[in-house]
Every structure is written in C-alpha cells, then in structure tokens.
Symmetry: C2
C-alpha cells in the first residue's frame, strides 16, 4: 500500500477523537484546546480540516446517524419499523450525551433526522399509507421515540451529570449539584427524593404502589402507536 504514509491529521481522526470526548463528558468536554491535546497537535491545527467547532458537532451528528443500520427491505413493514426503532434506541444508548446535545439543536436535528427518517418513510410507504398519512404517522413515531430515547439518555447520565455542566474550571469549587456520584437514576425520582415529603403526593402514592423500574414505556408506547398506525392502513 503506497499511500498509507503517516499524515498528521485527517477529518476522520479528528471526528473519532471528538466523539470519544463528547461520549465521556458531553459537549462541554469538547474544547478545541483539549481536542488538540488529545490529538497530539496544536489546537489550531484542527481548523485546517473543520472550519469551526460547530462544524465538528454537526459532522458528529451526521456521522453517527448516517451509520444507523437500514432494516432489510424484504421484511414486512411492521417488522422493519420495529427494527428501525430498536436501532435508534441502541444508537441513543451508545451515545447518550451526543443525543442529548443534538436534540436541543435544530440544525443538528435536521442533519440527524434526514438520515434517520429515510428507512422509516420507506417502511410506511410499504404499508400503503397515503403520503399525508405517512408524514403524520412518521411524525408521531419520531416524536415518541425522541422523547423516549431522551428520557433514557437522561437517566443513563444521571441527574447531576447534565449536558449544561461545562465541566467547569479546575477551581477548587464545591460541586454545584450536590447529589452523590451514583449514576443511572431516573431524574424525576431523584428530584422527588430531594423534596419535602408533603410535595407531589399523587406521584409519591402512585410510584410507591408500582414496581421500582416503572415499567417499560418504550415498548408500551411503540406497541400502542403501531396498533394505531395499523388501524389507519387502508383495506386492500
């Protein structure tokens, strides 16, 4: 192989390292200086390959979402829809911090969704839904999945490791969020535990009478929505 010379820096290598930084500590942990250090290069060298930090974030969103596996078109539409939803969920579990950042950023949402939506639209087209119904139903599926995946990502990171925490300067400052280091807790339960016991009686009552994990609203919601879509498929 003639061309595999050690070339200092490539877009791909930058993005790979940037993704690792975001996966570890969110967007706050991705600074141009830190990125340069991790690459073993002057921080400014990155600008030769990507024009600004924003381009890094958008490229990350694109790379990760473009890699979503496309379900086998030979399978029936409902199975494809379920496979697609599962793949999206897996993506969010692999990169919860990236998902949390993308979801609040309209332009990143556009870049990510244009890749993610294509197999979804294809499955619904196969269901013989008329185009306006496809748009509506795809919207419902995507909205629900975004919400579900977001909730899981938030729980995975745990209250206190939020996206808005920019890791802060290295000052010896008391941790702002106080809560213990325990990861992977449901943000709502965590908040409830922090409050005086008289507040929010309905939630306390219901949660006390329910299993600890609260049931799988991902599976429940997906079943419920697919049943609703099936009911809208025109008779052949």
């Amino acid at each position: 192989m003639a061309g595999t010379r050690r070339v200092g820096l490539t877009r791909e290598r930058i993005l790979r390292v940037a993704l690792a930084l975001v996966d570890e500590g969110g967007l706050g942990a991705l600074s141009m200086r830190r990125l340069g250090a991790e690459l073993g290069v002057d921080p400014m060298a990155v600008y030769r390959h990507l024009p600004h930090k924003r381009a890094i974030v958008l490229s990350l969103a694109e790379a990760v979402f473009a890699a979503l596996p496309v379900p086998d078109p030979a399978r029936p539409w409902e199975q494809r829809l379920r496979a697609w939803a599962g793949a999206y969920r897996a993506l969010a579990r692999a990169h919860p911090r990236l998902v949390l950042e993308v979801v609040g950023d309209p332009e990143a949402v556009g870049v990510a969704a244009v890749h993610a939506n294509e197999p979804l639209y294809a499955a619904l087209e196969d269901a013989a839904l008329p185009p306006p119904e496809i748009v509506r139903c795809a919207g419902v599926v995507v909205d629900f999945l975004n919400g579900a995946v977001l909730a899981e990502a938030a729980a995975a990171i745990g209250a206190g490791g939020g996206a808005a925490t920019p890791t802060g300067p290295v000052h010896p400052v008391a941790a702002p969020t106080g809560g213990g280091p325990g990861p992977a807790e449901d943000p709502v339960r965590a908040e409830l535990a922090r409050r005086p016991p008289g507040q929010f009686p309905v939630q306390r009552r219901v949660l006390a009478r329910s299993a600890d994990d609260g049931g799988d609203s991902f599976a429940t919601g997906l079943d419920l929505i697919i049943a609703g879509i099936v009911a809208r498929v025109p008779a052949r």
Copy 2:
C-alpha cells in the same frame, strides 16, 4: 405599603430578566456579565442571590414549569389529560429556547417534570388505571409530548438559530451556519433543501405528494395515544 422600598436586587427580578435573555437568545445569551448589565448592577452582585449560573437555569426551569395551569379536577379524566397536554404545548411555544435547553439537561428535566407530572398522574389515577399502568401510560404520554414539543420548538427557532450557537464573540466572523435569516422552518425540510437532489429519494417523494405543513402530528399522536389508554382502562 411600608415594605416596598427600592431594594436593589431580588431573586425574582433576576429570574425575570434571565428568562427574557434566554427567550431571546438561548442559554448562550445568558451570561453573568450580560445579566448584570441588564439589571444595571455589577455582574457579581447576582451571586448574592443565586450561587451560580446553574442555579439560575434550574430556577428558571422550576418557575416556568411550576406555573403550568392545573386542569379543573371536576372534569372527566380524558378532558383533563387533553387540557394538560394543551397547556404543556402552550408553555413550549411561549419559551421554546428554554424548553430546548431543559430537555437536554437531566437535572433540569427532573425539576421540570416533577411539577408537570402531578396533574397528569392525577388524571390517570381518576381513570381507575392500576398504578403500574399509570406509570407506563404517563411515560408514553410524556415521552410523546416531549418529542412533539421539541420538534415544534426547533421549528419555531429555525435551523441555524440553534441552542448550541453561543452567540459567539463579536469578531467580524462570517456566520457559521450560512442559511438565510428566514425563521420558523422545519429543520428536516431545510436540510433536505441543502442537499443534492439525488439523496433521500423516499422523503422527497413522500413530502412532494403531501401538504406543505405535513399535517398536525401533535393532534394525531395525542388522539392515537389516548385511544390506546382508553382501551387499557379496566371495565367497571
């Protein structure tokens, strides 16, 4: 009134001004220096009332979500659920940028959701659902609404005015995102327009055969989910 002396600064006044800044330009537009300037006070004075910027964000989330109107408990549960969903949607339309920031921040989600969930749980309890079903169904409703509201907020702000744009230094730097100043466009359609016409044929085909607004997936999804919940209510 004896006590209405002109006191320099209050938590309430700080939060009111901070909310205005976030509504205008997102979290990036809320800096302690800018906040101080807007309040006519030294930036550091704010620290007397709120310990750090993070506390401002969390207090904003709490204040806004605690103000969600509670539906009249005399009405039937389904009407209350619909009223509640409508109120949440209205909140997100009033403060899209805040919602976009909160949603990506697990701790803020906890603070916001603990307030928002209480009337929802109450409505589902009235539907005579068993507690584990309440938790599951509330999860489905909340996940869908978060996704739907998020999509609307992203469209309201418009691709390019994203939350991740920290307004930047005042350098004479070319706008990173390029797109025109046109607000209120669907991020996915915007992204599709930016791409070569051969990419994403299914989405282009379906969208071309569909009305321009793509239909109201908020109403569609809510109807679909409520129908699914009604089907789960045990017979009396």
